[in-house]
Amino acid sequence: MSEFWNPYAALAGRQRRLLGVAAVAALLLLWSLLAASGLVSATKLPAPWDVLAALAYLSWHEGQSMLLTATLWSVGRLLVAGALVIAIGIPVGIAMGAAPRVNAVLSPLVDPFRSAPVVALLPILVMWLGIGETMKIVFLFIGAVVYLIPMVRDAIQAVPQSYWIGARDLGATPWECVQRAVIPMAMPRIADAVIVGFSVMWTYITVAEYVNARQGLGQLIQNARRFSAWDQVFAGIMVIIALALATYQFMVWLKRRLYPWETEQ
């Protein structure tokens, strides 16, 4: 048995999983007890079994799956916005990290948005872009890219200068140093930035889909709320959490596959 207070003692995988499962089970138990006791009305806190039933209903009802359709729409928007975040955010972040002049110009334009209320931009985006898909994609894009760009820049600047000097000494041009030495060394942290970007987009997806949503998980939740179907609201939220977690786990796994050397250091 390792010491309780010791940040460096790694728990055995089994013990760690056991404790995690126990915590989730405890929360579910508390929730069940609260719901069963009648202390909290079912209109305020639907019981876990009601949420489960709602989940089943949404998954399959009268030959169609509302949940699957909604999920596909949300995932589709997320992927389009994510592709834009990667295609635009990473090159901009790299340019800022690797060229001080680019950073000097762009950082006053980008950095303040990290603490800006992105949600408050939504009405402005609606005014500019209307209520269609473009607005939703752009909203998700902005929400994620303002985090990603500074993270990519920091990833570039965190690469030890020795790699740059080493490449330079071997005859690399400054751009070749960036391209062949700095960027490859920054890739694990850039991957972290992408992972954060996708997490951020999952948190914003419901907001993006609140406005004039015809499809999507946000719309599904919004619709259920309108009819006070709180069990469905809870079910929708849980599906989003599950998808966000799955995305995260998949991307972390992918990152380890792509950059196994990072953890060898």
Partner: protein, 288 residues
């Protein structure tokens, strides 16, 4: 099937005349409170023979700065050198020079690349890609890996290697370019004594098959005596040439030679010079 001999692994450098000159080098750094401090004071050196030249001085005396000037790697934000000129083959050297390759103390091996790709790294750069055909550089990488004894480690990454093996990779990456000038900045300083011995022997072997001009910075008097054809002793704060002599004893130099009276006298002389030039400043090491 033929087995390549280590000697055949790297061909001898073309017998071109070589001249590396440091002319009245002065280096000053600005002080935080204003004014500036002079770390190198009018150092003039001339190298025109292939051989191992040791720049010996206490830590922090500016010998690495001198070496970096030869390699054309200049510190950021400071004019370097503040005065004087570096001439390679009579041409003033202002940036990284194609003929000069550095090996750093902190081996700049890329953790994401295998041993093979680390050694082949220069050939990913346009400069070398245009000069050396792929078939040739692949053969060169194979040969140099064999010469440094890493053929069986070609697929491993640096984290899977020991410190000495990592320094072999760095040395191989420098020599695969067949440089006329090899600049070594305390390359074995971070290694344990036994590994350092091995690496010194490897360097002697490699230099025999590729007799280029080596300028080797160290603060280890023993290392200077074991490796050097020529030993240049630098004083400190600011660095000046305190002594400059040749050692004609052929390498590898036996432990008996290292303990011989003449050698010990030489060592005594170096230590005296260092103490006169830099009383009580900096660190030097004697490992006999």
């Amino acid at each position: 099937m033929s087995v390549a001999q280590p000697q055949a692994a790297i061909a001898a450098p073309a017998a071109q005349p070589l001249s590396v000159v440091l002319e009245d080098i002065v280096q000053e750094y600005p002080l935080p409170g204003g004014g500036c401090t002079r770390v190198i004071d009018r150092v003039s050196l001339r190298f025109d023979q292939p051989g191992i030249n040791m720049l010996l001085g206490p830590s922090g005396c500016g010998k690495s700065t001198l070496l970096h000037m030869l390699g054309g790697v200049r510190p950021l934000g400071v004019v370097s050198p503040s005065g004087g000129r570096v001439l390679i083959d009579g041409v003033e050297c202002q940036g990284p020079h194609d003929d000069a390759v550095m090996v750093f103390q902190r081996y700049a091996n890329r953790p994401d690349l295998t041993v093979f790709d680390n050694v082949a790294f220069p050939f990913r750069l346009r400069l070398w890609r245009e000069r050396v055909a792929e078939a040739e550089w692949r053969q060169r990488v194979e040969d140099i890996l064999k010469a440094v004894g890493l053929s069986d480690k070609r697929g491993l990454r640096p984290a899977q290697l020991s410190g000495g093996q990592n320094q072999r990779v760095a040395l191989a990456r420098a020599l695969v370019l067949r440089p006329r000038i090899l600049l070594m900045d305390e390359p074995f300083g971070a290694l344990d004594a036994q590994t350092r011995d091995e690496m010194q022997r490897l360097l002697i072997e490699l230099h025999r098959s590729w007799p280029c001009l080596v300028v080797f910075v160290t603060h280890d008097v023993t290392e200077a005596l074991v490796l050097g054809d020529r030993v240049i002793v630098l004083g400190t704060q600011p660095a000046r040439v305190a002594d400059d002599f040749q050692i004609s004893e052929p390498r590898p130099r036996s432990p008996a030679w290292q303990r011989a009276r003449d050698t010990l006298a030489l060592e005594e002389r170096i230590l005296d010079q260092l103490h006169q030039a830099s009383p009580g400043k900096g660190q030097i090491r004697v490992t006999v």
